[in-house]
Symmetry: C2
Subunit: 355 residues, 2 copies
DNA sequence: CTGTTAGCGCGTTCAG
DNA sequence: CTGAACGCGCTAACAG
């Protein structure tokens, strides 16, 4: 009886139709609710019918319709990740880690890549809102705070990443660039360097400002005057690294150490140093910012201040998950910082006594 | 009348509730269907009421519930992207490009990162199925073809990426590694090299096998015997690059050119070459596989056979989109190849006359 | 042009 | 323990 074949078209799932609770209910000769309860494992169902339903569901290849479930439960179990690009090593780790952790927590992740374009960002924020995401991890351009506010108004959790524009209504987790640069500069100081150049990001960015500030603080603390000709701030591009390096190293009195605190420019810095035949670390100690695998395979291996993207990602996801679980709760707008760590390899040495 | 305030709690969207069609309908004093039609821009609505509805919807901050819409229309407008990791440059481009193109076509992308683990892959395939994705871009481990078949059985489009295990039921777009390696080797031959070493991937992978085959074919065509001591195949890890390089370059008669056709190993190859003090390209011409930005900033800049991830991504997405649009249609299981391109920089020179 | 009705697939009362 | 009935928010016939 149970295994009898009905000649009414059996929903054999060969033609674009999906197996639904009703199909199983018919087959098992019980009601939809019973099937639903059995599948949910509520324990409110007769053991024997439960296992029978489960078996039939399995045989029919049943898979719940997440959309329908979301609608009924009013919870989408969807989260959004919105970043600039996927090229930056930090964002890669962010995507990998958050995707894994969200999945483990039963959430699916919608990925959006803005290219740092406010227009794109606005469009994506709307779509994500439409999908009723329960949480948003966002590296904001700053131009769409109103759209972001909409999420928290609708009771979804938001955690900001990497950038903060001051007074948002949600928590943000940022790199502690000020301290990282401070610490990196101090290391150079420890090695005896007194003439330290820096290539840093644009001063209208968080990281650019903070890293420069850290550098200055370290120097000032040691009573060393800031030499304007030693500091170059500019765009996050390799080309800028070239020109800045050229300028700094052509000085009548060039530095003995260079802090390349603009990651994208580092490519140009390293290239230009090689072009000029400046040998590292003998003639110049080099310290970069943000670790990438090839740094450790360079000759000499490049020392870095690593921004620790893993830590940031982990913290951000945990925060978001917790926020989702506990409800919006307190909208403090805290700013958390994840510390940088210094990885000393072979590109920095004590300043030579004659230097 | 229209603007009168009802004392029943107005849905002012300040408390986690979302504005629905019904809210607008009440406010505009029309039926839900009229609102739906007005918002959909069907033109089946009186111009004046349409604009009024639109205005009210806007004022109330209405945003359609994508989940409910999906359920009603039986189309989720969701697609899935499933890859190994996000570190590989090819996958980054894949993610960026596909996300952008899908978004432009009105699809949202669910990202899944498998870590090349069949277990993870299986879990993700199920979740994606549950979400009723309309299309899937997948770099398959090969262990879950049954789960992938389920998608095409359910009439969703599938396009395979990078790997093919032979006889799948869906189209795949792969890199033309055999030709890329063949072409790269030929370039080296053109430069006069006759002793050419190769460091390549594991022979139980598609790319590993094909690249080695391409290398061999180029040599054979020129009547040059394959020297076993010149070919090293192994894992996709920098460490392997080190040992392979060490072995090859310690040979009594080392090659005059080295083809590092295992991208991950290239880091180690380059590092080890530097360690041994082998100067490129004077003592050895070096050709790598898969371009990354830092190759062009090395001194000398590294020549590469670039696998052209953009082309692959673009083609794959187009294929999938088209497949979604036209329905499953022919399930030919075609295998498309995107050609590699050679980017000659400074790491290869003609073999020296004395060499 | 508009309103009424009927689902989409599922969870969740509320009675039995 | 089980089934009937309702609703999630929206689209899609079907009448008027």
């Amino acid at each position: 009886m149970v295994t009898s074949e009905h000649d009414e078209s059996a929903p054999s799932n060969t033609e674009g139709r999906f197996v639904t609770l009703r199909d199983i209910a018919r087959m098992a000769e019980v009601s939809i609710s019973t099937v639903s309860r059995a599948l949910a494992g509520t324990g409110l169902v007769n053991k024997r019918t439960e296992s029978r339903v489960l078996r039939i569901a399995d045989e029919m290849g049943y898979r719940p319709n997440a959309l329908a479930r979301s609608l009924a439960t009013r919870s989408s179990r969807l989260v959004g990740l919105m970043v600039n690009n996927m090229v930056n090593a930090s964002f890669q780790r962010l995507a990998e880690i958050s995707q894994a952790r969200f999945a483990a927590a039963g959430y699916q992740m919608l990925l959006c890549i803005t290219g740092d374009d406010p227009g794109q960002e606005a469009a994506y924020l709307s779509t994500l809102f439409d999908h009723r995401i329960e949480g948003l991890l966002v590296l904001p351009t700053g131009a769409n705070s109103d759209l972001i506010e909409r999420f928290i108004a609708a009771n979804s959790a938001v955690v900001g990443l990497v950038r903060s524009h001051g007074h948002e209504n949600y928590d943000s987790v940022l790199f502690d660039d000020a301290f990282g640069a401070y610490d990196g500069t101090r290391q150079l100081l420890e090695l005896g360097h007194r003439r330290i150049g820096i290539v840093v990001g644009r001063q209208d960015t968080n990281s650019g400002r903070e890293r420069l500030a850290g550098y200055k603080r370290a120097l000032t603390e040691r009573g060393i005057a800031i030499r304007p000709e030693y500091v170059h701030s500019g765009p996050f591009r390799p080309e800028f690294g070239i020109s800045a390096t050229e300028a700094i190293m052509s000085l009548p009195e060039p530095p003995t150490a260079l802090f390349s605190a603009n990651h994208e420019a580092s490519l140009g810095v390293i290239g230009q140093l090689a072009t000029k035949g400046i040998v590292i670390p003998d003639q110049l100690s080099l310290l970069c910012y943000e670790d990438v695998p090839w740094f450790s395979w360079q000759k000499p291996a490049i020392s870095v201040v690593d921004a620790d993207a893993e830590a940031l990602a982990t913290l951000a996801v945990d925060l978001l998950l917790q926020r989702i679980a506990t409800g919006a709760g307190s909208r403090t707008g805290r700013v958390l910082r994840v510390g940088a760590r210094i990885i000393m390899r072979d590109s920095c040495t004590p300043v030579s006594p004659i230097g």
